[in-house]
């Protein structure tokens, strides 16, 4: 989702977007963003497995994935704040992604509490719905964000 390229004349081509980010000014946040996203997407898979099997093992996977996702997201937020404090520039992070991440994180936090209920209703229907909603939000945000970067070449070296 993040396309960070070191500006190097040998690599610059017309087809590929190249970030204007400089190596020394590169923020940490974009490198950490994929990890919570992977956790939240995994939780949807394990929720679906629980829904189909009634096996509590999948339910436990889901709540750990969501919890770890939230912790990793928290670390990413801290990294982002440090980036901001150090004056680093987020050339590849479009506004749809930021809005999407905030929404996905808020829904995931609620989802962690829903998943902490006991037995079936920890997942079906509310938990499963929220897990799916998070993935949809992330997909839409990711697509809209990359469209900004690729199609409109925002934050990209001309």
């Amino acid at each position: 989702m993040q396309h960070i390229r070191i500006t190097d004349t040998a690599l610059i081509g017309d087809a590929k977007p190249v970030s204007t980010a400089k190596p020394r000014g590169r923020p940490i946040l974009p490198a950490l963003v994929p990890f919570p996203i992977a956790c939240f997407a995994g939780a949807l898979v394990t929720d679906l497995m629980y829904w189909r099997t009634d096996d509590v093992m999948w339910e436990r996977f889901s709540i750990w994935l969501i919890t770890i996702g939230l912790i990793l997201a928290g670390i990413a937020v801290i990294a982002g704040l440090i980036d901001v404090a150090l004056g680093k520039r987020f050339r590849t992070l479009g506004w749809p992604q930021v809005v999407g991440y905030v929404l996905a994180l808020a829904v995931s936090l609620v989802n962690a509490f829903v998943h902490s209920r006991d037995a079936y209703t920890a997942v079906v229907p509310t938990g499963l719905t929220l897990s799916a909603l998070v993935v949809i939000i992330l997909l839409v945000a990711g697509w809209a964000g990359s469209a900004l970067v690729h199609r409109h070449r925002k934050g990209v070296a001309q």
Partner: protein, 455 residues
């Protein structure tokens, strides 16, 4: 799109901070965790509100503070209470031997496994409530030789047990219900310590989860059978239905062979068993499920029918379905028995004694004392006292009365929490207090009410 590009071109705007603020502003409280008047849910046919499911289930625990010097529980006029023994280690249940010696089972559950992040939180909550003491795994004997109501002798009767709870003596066989097995020890009257190795009568459902670890024990009047209260392995099957095999049930164990059958099932956590003397029926106290509201589900006292099913996990108080259980079992729900007598929600009855003595006033005869450990998930707090349920013709006849109170101080901190009960040889009511680490004795406030000396 203009605004969007502006946004992108002003990278110093603290966007991640927006994200953090949004998350922290998210309101997660606001659920109504205040229960109704808890006394309305005492007796047959309690009113049951609609169930609620929470984002954050209400937690309201009484911080454990212990008893101050000379502080005791409160009893009504005409009764008196004093400490029979103090400085115990998490005393959970009591048993009175024929010679008057009192056995105090000092015990706690095995270490709870962590399956979910929630289990970590639950551990903190229990620690705060003084329920995380390590198990002493020991039975202490108290003997009052001169009859002044104060035991002069205190010995370690049995040691190196495994989260013991129930005790039953049949002839010279003393049975201890550890969390994972019933073990038999040879006992001679007057013995103050058992060093002989025990013999296992039967395994009981124990680890690795062992969510409800206490195994209550009661011998049949003829001594041929032992009845064992085996609690469920979860609140409401969150550890899987496979973990509940032969749990949430009252077992009937053949004393000669060790073979068992399920006498009754669907009893989530049957922590106390007693024989009703008039009808000779088995009665049990049962702890019902949590996390569906401050007024759900009332814990109960009930007669136990052979082969009866009492609802857990599929339903409660008859046919009230619990949606947290999947797949459901309509066949079992259809035959679920409504318990006889609700004790109110989340009071956590952990001890029962049907009064057959003469020491206490006559109105207590034939009725049931119930030790209510107290709630942790409702406001206002409920339980934290010993109540008396009057019986008539072998059935509860009137609303429960508070008999021993004052376990909570004015700030709703727990000075103690009542657990197991027993009637001593002189008819005094004994109460194990696992936060105050004390055994209390309630007797009539009149001269000459001291217990008879143990022989």
């Amino acid at each position: 799109m203009m605004r969007a590009s502006e946004f992108i071109r002003s990278p110093k705007r603290p966007r991640p901070a927006v994200l953090l603020a949004a998350v922290s502003l998210l309101a997660l409280t606001g659920c109504d965790d205040n229960g109704g008047d808890p006394t309305r849910q005492i007796g047959a046919n309690p009113p049951l509100p609609a169930l609620q499911q929470y984002l954050m289930p209400p937690i309201r625990i009484a911080k454990a503070v212990g008893w101050g010097k000379d502080e005791t529980p409160t009893v009504p006029q005409g009764l008196q209470v004093h400490a029979l023994a103090t400085g115990l280690e998490h005393p959970r249940s009591l048993y009175v031997l024929p010679n008057g010696d009192v056995l105090v089972v000092e015990s706690n559950g095995p270490k709870a496994p962590i399956f979910r992040p929630k289990d970590i939180i639950t551990g903190w909550v229990q620690w705060f409530a003084g329920a995380k003491a390590p198990s002493a795994n020991r039975i202490t004997l108290l003997r009052d030789t001169n009859g002044d109501g104060i035991p002069e002798m205190r010995t370690v009767f049995l040691d190196h047990l495994n989260s013991p709870f129930g005790v039953a003596l049949v002839g010279n066989d003393l049975y201890v219900a550890n969390t994972d097995a019933i073990v038999r020890y040879p006992y001679q009257e007057g013995q103050t310590s058992i060093t002989a190795p025990g013999t296992k009568l039967t395994d009981l459902p124990g680890g690795p989860i062992d969510h409800h670890w206490t195994k209550s024990l009661l011998a049949s009047p003829d001594g041929s059978k032992l009845y064992v209260g085996v609690g469920s392995n979860s609140n409401i099957t969150e550890n899987g239905i496979g973990a509940e095999y032969e749990r949430a049930a009252i077992w009937e164990v053949d004393r000669a062979s060790g073979a068992h059958r399920i006498f009754a099932s669907g009893t989530r956590n049957p922590t106390g068993l007693a024989w009703e003397p008039e009808t000779h029926k088995l009665w049990a106290i049962v702890n019902e499920r949590d996390e569906i509201g401050p007024d759900l589900v009332p814990d109960y006292l009930t007669s136990v029918k052979d082969g009866g099913f009492y609802g857990w996990p599929y339903s409660y108080f008859g046919q009230h379905l619990d949606p947290r259980v999947q797949p459901q079992r309509p066949d079992l729900v259809a035959k679920a028995i409504v318990p006889d007598y609700a004790l109110s929600s989340h009071v956590a009855p952990l001890g029962v004694a049907i009064y057959n003595g003469t020491e206490l006033p006559a109105n207590f005869r034939g009725g049931a004392f119930v030790g209510e450990h107290g709630s942790w998930d409702r406001t206002p707090l409920n339980g934290y006292k010993v109540v008396f349920v009057p019986f008539s013709h072998g059935k509860p006849s009137d609303p429960a009365q508070d008999v021993v109170t004052g376990f909570l101080d004015a700030n709703n901190h727990a000075r103690g929490r009542p657990v197991g009960l027993a009637i001593d040889r002189s008819g005094g009511l004994l109460i194990a207090d696992d936060v105050g680490n004390t055994v209390w004795r309630v007797s009539s406030a009149r001269p000459g009410s001291a217990p008879k000396p143990a022989s």
